[in-house]
Amino acid sequence: MGKRLAFWLVVAVLSAAGLLPILYMLWRSVSVNGHLSLSYYSSLLSSERTWALLAHSITLATLTTIASTLIGVPLGILLAKTDLPLRKALAVTLTLPLLIPPYINALSWFYILGRDGVIASLMGNAVSNITSAWYFGLGGSVFVLTITFMPVVMLLTMAYLGTINPELEEVGRLFSKWPAVLARITVPMILPGISLAAMLVFLLSMGEFGVPTFLRYDVFPVESFTQFSAFYNFGAATAAAVPLAVITAILISLEWIFVRDRTYRLKTASDSGFLRIELKGWKRPILIITLIFAFTTVILPLTVLVARSMTLDAYRKALSIAHDSLLRSIVYAVVGATLLVGIGFLSGYFIHKREFRLWRALDLLTIFLFALPGTVIGVGLIGLWNRPSTDLIYTTPLIILMGYLAKYTALTSRITVSTLAQIPPSMEESARLAGVRWLNRIMQIVVPLSKPGILVAWIVGFIFCLRDLGITIMVYPPGYDTFTVRTFTLMANGSPQLIAALSVMMVAAVLLVMGAGWAAVHILRRR
């Protein structure tokens, strides 16, 4: 396969899955009763409420991003770069909240901080009234979203630390202590990864609707939501989603200008060793602090969740009504993540190389799609693919996979871009000069060097496919829902025990899959 062919393959897949459905929706947003009109946009932008809600959303997203980065980067460094005990267990534990639907996270914290929650029974109502008042509002929304999305920053930090060249750090260590080396050498080198993580957290928290609604903090996505839920007006709903995408476009442009060119000069080789920080006397206090953090932010709410689902009956029931959808979810997510890595790697490669003129468009399109609400993409996919001639796509899970590709290619593509930024181009270049064909260069040089990044991309893709709700609920073939959809639809008037049991099952299933993957990799390596 030639480079050009691969490029057009990526363009074709992303057009079919994302670009055309979105163009279809954008067309609807500017055609009112068959005429070209910007009335949806003008009525949206002329309302004061729009601006107030946008300000809310940006505040929420900014605070969540700052908090997630301030916590996630140090944690990532601690867990990837130091000799802290229990590193792997802590990394897995701290990732768990990302696997649980944010709404459930908000609920389990409500069981703790609410007026009748755990705090109330331990410290009395005087205290719980204060925690409850704080929880319902901006504070609580930032808190829950930070705990949910912080793992994105932590995981990406860990991944990029694994690819940096230890020589620079070694030189630094000759003259300074670790904190200075981290601040001046290590962190700047993984800046592409950190900025990517921050941007993803920003977009995720800006698009999140369930948690702020539950916590009474009005945000902008409610606009698009009410257009869908009360008016069934696809055009106006799309128009109401566009500001989110515009903010995204501004963010990417800023990143194009500032971050990427700065780090461009920092490319290093990744083939020699790894420098680990010895914590020495700090080991015990840092371990204790990290354990306390993991306990309060993850174990405690999970325990409350498990405690509420403590009856065996709840689990038996959960298993009997949801086992088939759980299996489907895992299959869809495995296939989805693999496709996402394939397309995302190629797309990331072309964005990184900047050889084709369309690279900016590719980057912009994927991130744009990531920022749009799932419902908009879902309706677009239906509009485009629900025709008798394309039944094979629309009436099968292929349509779900297309939805995943549309929405989440940005993740794997961007992870690839940041990974490739750390691989010296000279290697591929010399292979090219030696006459090695493009596909062979990719497979034998670029892919092996980007292994850690590819692995992280797959895990992130897997998690996001698994927890997807917005697109799946719009397009899944009747009768064949996923586990997240099923949990969500059972939440209305389902018993709290059942919902808690389903959430615990989701966590257990993901851990099993990850565990199996980890074991498989180890066994393969030993051979």
């Binding site: 007026r115 009410t226 292929l398 397009v475 009747p478 009768g479």
Partner: protein, 339 residues
Amino acid sequence: MKKWIWILILVVVAGAFLLWRFRSGRGENVVVVYVSEDRVFSEPILRDFERETGIKVKAIYDTEEAKSTGVMNRLIAEKDNPQADVYWANEPIRAEVLKQKGITTPYISPNADGIPDGFKDPEGYWTGFSARARVLIVNTRVHDAPSSIMAFVDPQWKGKAVIANPLFGTTTVHIAALFVLWGDDSAKKFMQAMKENGVKISTSNGESADLVASGEFDFSLVDNDDAVNRMRQGQPVKMVFPDQGEDGIGCLLLPNAVMLIKGAPHPSNGKKLIDYLLSKETERKLAFADCAQIPLHPGVEMPAELKDISQIKTMEIDYPAVAKKLVEIQPFLKEWVGY
């Protein structure tokens, strides 16, 4: 290189398996139904139908309470190439919207006989069954319980009442029905007076019911299943059918509504499912289930907490007008909620 080929083969095989296994079947003995009634209540009924008829049910569920927009938007988006045979809505306003958009087609089921005319579309575009009543849920420590929705604007209850966000769900329908019944001016005055009387807004009827049960508020306006559920759990609440006096406006009843989709891929199975849903037996099951819905057929057995439809003074409701009003008052409601 070899490893990659294996991975590729594996993905292709998995993909082929998915296509073969999880295809939404056309041409088989199936019926495709989209459902907006809560899944915990609707799924058992559909399973019974499957068992009794041998027709496989393929369903897509929605959930209003958790604020999903799935099923209705999907039905509308699929208009040109319908995938669904039947839509089971949890209230008739959605049915009216679909009728106006030309997505449904008339079907008058033999089992619709006996269901009062006020709960069916005269042309057969939809038929109602098993209704939720909009009731007052009152904490039992309140002695002189309110008996009318006017209690929301009575200074006696200042700061003691809560109501679900009127932008979502059955509360929206209720407010729209009041606008139609009273006219815009009176209804707006009522809403304004509610605000001045310190009525708080919750996210859902379920939450309102919990807030009353925990004693944070004295009463709220909810669906009767929210009240019956808490009563069955032994919580200190009771249920009052509002405005039953001679001059009272009556209690708002919102039936489920079932309809056939125009161009349905399996119309004959779709009709069988509609007949099944409109049967007395289905109404009996939904009355005894936790949703505690009131049967519309006469003479259906029901639990003690419920009232027979003949004993309830019901609010007159013009569904097409309410459907229209619902859209009209959205800007007012948004402002009222404070968005």
